[in-house]
Subunit: 358 residues, 2 copies
């Protein structure tokens, strides 16, 4: 069912593929690290399993392997970055670095990005801020799979939000989540197992409840966080909309139902109102609010208090956002990363084309 | 069951009460406008129904009617404001104005607030940014009523987030929502009607599903947006946590289970790690990203496209965040504001004490 690879094996393979499609050494390194952060952290749907998809986008000339990424508009605390159709895995770290640099100067930095592509996991980019004693934020729009409350039309992507907050002795607080009830990757896992989805994750083409994990192929839609109106789906819809607007309307990327699709075989929407996919990044120096040591002391206290919250029967403990991914990263760095056979086969075929061994 | 009052009647009464407890003219005006924005917009739980509660906090010396609100820490794009235990209704507009002023200078402004109190509806403060062609954000922590995923202990408040985004010919996009499945005010409505709550809003003291709208009085808890783990409650828990940290850990207010309670009869938590309640405000000039006209043209396009999203059977149309409240405001400004009898009686008693007629 699956094979175990070391991080180094996957790194060498992925890096070589990015070099093979024309990335320079620096970009290939950046992209490989950003992509494999997902596999290390246990978010398998966003890691090496997507490498074939990125290469297909390059073949379809939707990804530019030699982008001239640049700042096209700025103020002391803001910038718009044009990704020149580069890999989001390369464009996003560039833009996050701009946010960090601005925060160094004026306390915070906010960067909206246009003309980019899928950027891997949002959490990786947000976490770039941590070593600078900054709070990091990252979000992105994505191709439309989500129906707003009261609708049967797919208007928004799963539009994730990540927020990383440094602490002192405790590990950082790292939230990273799709603004839908369940991310698309969760559906893909169920498809592989031929299992049903819980009620509240998806609806069919008429807006009825569905448990069919394949319903997106039948004009169904993912549901915003909250699932239905009574349980707050209008809040998930609002969150996904905010991500879309910050990422794409602020920057001049394509928004809402016009966001470019990830699968290269899906044709581009007509009359796109902007360029490519959009992202949004933020960095806030914690010492722009209070001395960093004081802030981190209280973050430790916050985290320790929440860890001690009384668990419900049947549960060991309350988790802090980022705990599961960090624990997974420790295990996988040591014991290797399991890749399901279907993905291994795909990667091998990809490698053969470029004469690169997995 | 209810009486109708004009906005002017409620304004005169509320203003007079704030003057009676010692607010100066400017603060009483600010507080009255912020408070009644809730009644106008149909968020009855956060409007004049809370006036008695504010007065009780003043009597308990937890609210200072003559605060010296000031900036205690700042960088070009950030500030921490100390509210000097003032009414949140007064402290919040002060802090939001600081954010707006900073945005004028460097593109964005971010203000974390400590030593404050309940600030009414978040949306009112976020919307202050709109007339400046800025995106406004407002959030606040609140006394703990919400159990994190896997827990039975109340650790977070309903911690709302508001985001207001200007458009051109379309009305502004205004999202304003608690990071729980249902706000506490929704439970209060059910209590009055003696009705059950839907599964997924609350849990009992052991963490079991409950439909009891009075369960918070029996050591139950509100559930984070998402309701349960399978439907993403860890995302609602993360959102509520982010609001708590931005509002209170950044500023030096009391966070998590130590947030001061709204009812004056509930004693203050022991060993509070900060001062009072915390808020967080943001303002981003849209022309810090692209020309304002261009941005607003695309916001119109975004809104118009979402309005045209295909509705599900049985629904007229897809709503844009802020639509219901704006429509309510138009009706209530014209036809008056209905106040339920129980609240009218309370207000009359309050008025008698200060010799003020409703």
């Amino acid at each position: 069912m699956q094979k175990i690879f070391s991080y180094q094996q996957l790194y060498q393979f992925t890096y070589s593929i990015f070099i093979a499609i024309g990335c320079n050494n620096e970009d290939a390194t950046t992209a490989t690290e950003a992509l494999l952060a997902a596999d290390l952290r246990g978010i398998d749907s966003h890691g090496i399993a997507r490498l074939v998809g990125y290469v297909r986008l390059w073949e379809a000339q939707r990804v530019n392997a030699k982008p001239q990424i640049k700042i096209v508009y700025e103020t002391p605390s803001t910038a718009v970055v044009d990704g020149d159709s580069g890999l989001g895995l390369v464009v996003a770290p560039f833009a996050m670095q701009v946010a960090i640099d601005k925060a160094k100067n004026v306390g915070t930095g906010w960067v909206s990005v246009r003309n980019s592509n899928h950027f891997g996991i949002a959490g990786y980019h947000a976490m770039m801020a941590l070593e600078h004693d900054m709070i990091g934020m990252a979000m992105t729009n994505a191709s439309a799979l989500v129906a707003p409350t009261f609708s049967i039309e797919r208007m928004l992507g799963t539009n994730p939000i990540a927020v990383a907050i440094p602490a002192k002795n405790q590990p950082a607080f790292v939230a990273d989540f799709a603004t839908t009830t369940a991310a698309n990757g969760k559906l893909e896992l169920l498809q592989r197992k031929n299992a049903d989805a819980p009620i509240g994750w998806v609806q069919d083409e008429n807006g009825n409840d569905s448990v069919d994990a394949n319903i997106l192929k039948k004009n169904g839609a993912l549901l915003p966080l909250g699932s239905d109106r009574e349980h707050g789906s209008h809040k998930g819809y609002a969150l996904g909309s905010i991500v879309d607007i910050f990422s794409a309307v602020l920057s001049g990327a394509s928004y809402g139902p016009w966001a470019p699709p990830f699968p290269a075989y899906v044709s581009m929407p007509e009359n796109m109102p902007g360029k490519g996919l959009g992202h949004f990044f933020g960095a806030m120096r914690v010492d722009a609010f209070r001395p960093a040591d004081e802030f981190k002391y209280h973050m430790d206290n916050w985290i320790e208090r929440f860890r001690k919250a009384k668990p419900a029967e049947g549960f060991d403990k309350v988790l802090i956002p980022g705990d599961p991914e960090r624990e997974m990263e420790i295990i996988r760095a040591k014991e290797g990363i399991p890749i399901v056979d279907a993905v291994v086969d795909e990667l091998k075929k990809l490698g053969e084309r470029f004469d690169i061994q997995l």
